[in-house]
Symmetry: C2
Subunit: 256 residues, 2 copies
Amino acid sequence: MRQLRTTSRVAAVRKSSLHHQVAQDIGARILKGEFAPGDLLPNEAESCRAYGVSRTAVREAMKMLTAKGLILSRPKIGSRVQPRDSWNLLDRDVLVWYCAAGERNHFLASMHQMREILEPEAAALAAINHSAEQLRSIEQALIGMRDAADLPAWNVADVRFHLAILLASGNELLVPFGFLIESALGTMFDFTGRHNQDWRKAYPLHEAIVVAIRKKRPEAARKAARLLLADTGRVLAQWARESNRGKRPAKVKARS
Amino acid sequence: MRQLRTTSRVAAVRKSSLHHQVAQDIGARILKGEFAPGDLLPNEAESCRAYGVSRTAVREAMKMLTAKGLILSRPKIGSRVQPRDSWNLLDRDVLVWYCAAGERNHFLASMHQMREILEPEAAALAAINHSAEQLRSIEQALIGMRDAADLPAWNVADVRFHLAILLASGNELLVPFGFLIESALGTMFDFTGRHNQDWRKAYPLHEAIVVAIRKKRPEAARKAARLLLADTGRVLAQWARESNRGKRPAKVKARS
DNA sequence: GCGGTGCAATATGTATGACAATTGCCAGAT
DNA sequence: ATCTGGCAATTGTCATACATATTGCACCGC
């Protein structure tokens, strides 16, 4: 017993609570396809044994997965994996599990496509709706990028920049997307930038967006955002090509 | 004790499990602003008394709210309401609570704006990427709208129609949005349509989208979708104007 | 033989009580 | 005044028992 507490303290980091760990593991395994939609999860008693925790912990983990739309529990039936359509794919955890599970390049492409749809419009809206304070916050993020000494610092400012624009758009449903992108792509920004040797060349593209927003020119902001995303898209495509050629998918290596 | 079990069996419907009810109530109250970000929720013992349920139920409810990013629990501290940025606003439950809590018209406007951003692009993508089966599913939804005898039937087909297009777009991150719209606006479609006396006039607008998708003309599909949304937007604006003038919000009537 | 009815088996749902772990806070010492 | 130690409050986890829902089978009646 207590496997999770003893053995995994080594590997899985002593991070967070037990039910959280269990939820993470089962959630990731569902997204990995280890449990397919329609499948029955092992019943609670079995999971208790498997993870070496009490039923309380398992149940709380289940409730978290239920809240994310991954499973549905019913007496006498058990916990059944819900159809994909019910999954809260726009949940940070779920998205991270999904990203860790599937084809990395395909995921990045989907994500980038979403950005291409949303961010130009967000920029256009921001040009119209921004408050003085919101504009300042965008400008400060831009300054952060200008003064960034190294890539990590630049990435931090970059995320702040895009978040600030979404915030300034005045549509609160757009904001969660920024945080989604931040969560899911957070570490990936490293990759996209690492291969873009002269990442500073993206600076003027960002600057153009700010100028358009400051001048309250939605159409110009939209176009500037599209230019930036097209550039990012090229970097991504380049990276995908390389990672496809060099080594095989290399999933295992990238895990954990 | 047992207030929840006895008294609320009358009002709150005997729907679902206890922890679910508790989660619903606390979640709704958070979204209503009754508990503001940074506030401490009553501790578990207190909530047990308040709802007349065991600590088990309360804790499972808390875990669900935690999974949705609404709260964060820590020993000795209690459960604190997270900053709005952490809220999973793109979660169905959260969105429903949000919609029930705030300014209805403002919410509808935000939602509609998201649709204006996403759906034309989704239609354009669908025109390029759709499979034969996906196209058929779109067409069948259209047939459902054509043959709809009454407004409810039309609404069901309408939702199916937009979902089918999102599915055909080939970007799985777009699909959850359809379900979000379905969940949050599900009952509201009634309202939007009820005031649009001759709702059938929207049929050709839908048809145009299908034609463009079938012909694989992304630009035409985008334009057709924009036309439809502009029409819906007019209906919404009309409705907002009326509901602002005639009677006060009239929330109570629309509930349940 | 066929079908309906009820009972039992099984899984989750809920309750209860105990203890562990974490951390803010206060008192006391330096 | 600052640091330190212990106390207390709160969530985290465990164990056990019982309640409830649902399936499937068996029994009984027709």
